[in-house]
Symmetry: C2
Subunit: 131 residues, 2 copies
């Protein structure tokens, strides 16, 4: 039995909000970046590119933390800590799906050498007033 | 000579935007939380409470990362990595000032035993499209 999302957290993740992800750098410090993301059941999925700092960080240390707040009411927020699994399968499809979620249109074509990675965060701890 | 903020980063920090802070937990994983913050010259300041997780984390490891995006246009963003210094001096005044910045009113009174800490982030690296 894993950690599951309540309705308030689902609403934050299903909306067009902008989670901020923290990964761990090689020197043990943190790196943060803003994401397009969506909920897939009781996991969070997003797409990054093989070789980027956050992807290299997660390959070395799969522990991440994401804070997401309601774009219309930032006082409604949640922190999700968890561990990631990464796969090339479905990364292209996911970035396109997220582009439709956030922008309502296709994501631009990328060169074949760009490897789009699908990242799945399985939560281990959820805190915040929407937790 | 430290790292300085350009005009785009200053605008993000001076606006009513909601930075997300990452600190490092005792086990080396990351913790994130959403902040009220403001710019003080080429530093970022915010107020927390002595004993909270983020405060204990920063006391142990002063390295942090903050991502802030424009509330009206989240595609305008910056990541600021830096190190923090913490002091009790001015913490109460700062939380009240931030309450006025974000909400336009006084911050509620806190019990005398609550120690408000002023946290100052001195940047070491700034990235993002507003960097």
């Amino acid at each position: 039995m894993g950690v599951t999302f309540n309705d308030a957290t689902k609403k934050l993740l299903d909306g067009n909000n902008f989670p901020v992800l923290a990964t761990i750098n090689a020197d043990g410090s943190a790196q943060t970046s803003v994401l397009w993301a969506k909920r897939d059941g009781d996991t969070v999925i997003f797409a990054t590119v093989r070789g980027r700092l956050k992807e290299r960080n997660m390959a070395r240390d799969p522990r991440v933390s994401v804070t997401v707040f309601d774009q219309e009411n930032p006082y409604d927020y949640v922190e999700i800590r968890g561990t990631v699994e990464m796969t090339d399968e479905g990364g292209r499809e996911l970035i396109n799906e997220l582009s439709h979620k956030y922008l309502g249109k296709d994501y631009p074509d990328e060169p074949a050498e760009v490897v789009r990675v699908l990242v799945r965060i399985t939560p281990t701890k959820i805190t915040g007033n929407a937790a």
